[in-house]
């Protein structure tokens, strides 16, 4: 088992090197720059607002659901006009649906 023996000291030395990495002190103006950065518009302490596109996605999903349900219910008593026919590519039912909505 030559391989593990060769790697063990290497791994130990690398861990030691990692632990001994120098920690640079912040430059004199660093803290002032951070405090100035906090006052920029994007850095205000607040609850992060939900992005607008999330609301847009909810609205689109809800509208699509309503549209599909209405179409299905509207075609319930007239099977040839239902969405099932639309999906099958029946041109006349597409026309009927377009005229209906």
């Amino acid at each position: 088992m030559k391989t593990p023996d060769r790697f063990a000291p290497v791994e130990a030395a690398l861990a030691q090197a990692h632990q001994n990495r120098a920690v640079p002190p912040p430059s004199p103006g660093w803290q002032k720059r951070v405090m100035a950065g906090l006052r920029l518009p994007g850095a205000q302490a607040a609850d992060e607002a939900t992005p607008l596109f999330v609301y847009a996605a909810y609205a689109t999903t809800a509208l699509s659901f309503c549209f599909v349900m209405t179409a299905l219910l509207a075609g319930w008593h007239q099977p040839t006009d239902s969405l099932a026919w639309l999906w099958l590519g029946d041109a006349s039912s597409i026309q009927t649906l377009l005229l209906t909505y």
């Binding site: 060769r6 690398l14 030691q16 990692h18 430059s27 951070v34 609850d47």
Partner: protein
């Protein structure tokens, strides 16, 4: 010892910063600057430490409302620092020009001397050389940002899987698998280098 008063003081500062007293954030900066610099300097190049530490505090301030107060502020900041370091390497992308090159002769010779070290003194002498850090950076450069972070936390810093999972926000199973895979990759890279030479 004085953990409770310190915690309540921290919570009070956080509450007041959220109420609009931004200047009070400087107390958080004073108290935790060394901690953040310590974490960041172990994970990004030395010339980038200030920039990443800056981002850590800006993000901490922006998401201060999410600080629940259930854990210490230092722990919460540590998690942000670890995530920011990961983001740094993700931002660097897959540009691996520096790692595409093999180790130079000086670093390869160091690796050989280290692998062949027969005494503790010899090992310590070699481990403290500059080549150790250079070789480590070169080898870590071959890993993706997540593997790199997990390997550093577990195998180089000695954190447990649970601690690494807590710091990174990844599941324990994910951390464990990544840790094993990353160590295997590191071993392969370094042993291949040694074998090429011999």
């Amino acid at each position: 010892m004085n953990a409770a008063p310190q915690e309540s003081n921290e919570s009070e500062i956080v509450r007041r910063v959220l109420a609009g007293e931004t200047d009070l954030f400087e107390r958080i900066l004073d108290a935790h600057r060394n901690l953040v610099f310590g974490i960041v300097s172990r994970h990004v190049p030395v010339q980038e430490v200030e920039g990443v530490a800056y981002d850590v505090f800006i993000e901490a301030h922006r998401s201060l409302a999410k600080f629940s107060g259930q854990s210490r502020l230092s722990h919460w900041l540590s998690k942000i620092a670890v995530r920011r370091c990961c983001d740094y390497w993700r931002g660097k992308g897959r540009r691996r020009e520096e790692t595409a090159n093999p180790l130079d002769a000086r670093q390869t010779e160091w690796l050989e001397r280290l692998a062949a070290a027969s005494s503790r003194e010899e090992f310590e002498r070699e481990a403290s050389r500059r080549e150790a850090e250079e070789t480590l950076d070169w080898a870590l450069g071959h890993l993706g940002e997540k593997d790199r972070m997990v390997l550093s936390l577990i195998h180089l810093e000695g954190h447990s899987v649970a601690e690494a999972s807590e710091l990174t926000g990844w599941s324990r199973a994910n951390v464990k698998i990544r840790s094993m895979r990353a160590r295997h990759a590191l071993k392969k890279i370094l042993l291949q280098t040694l074998e090429k030479k011999t």
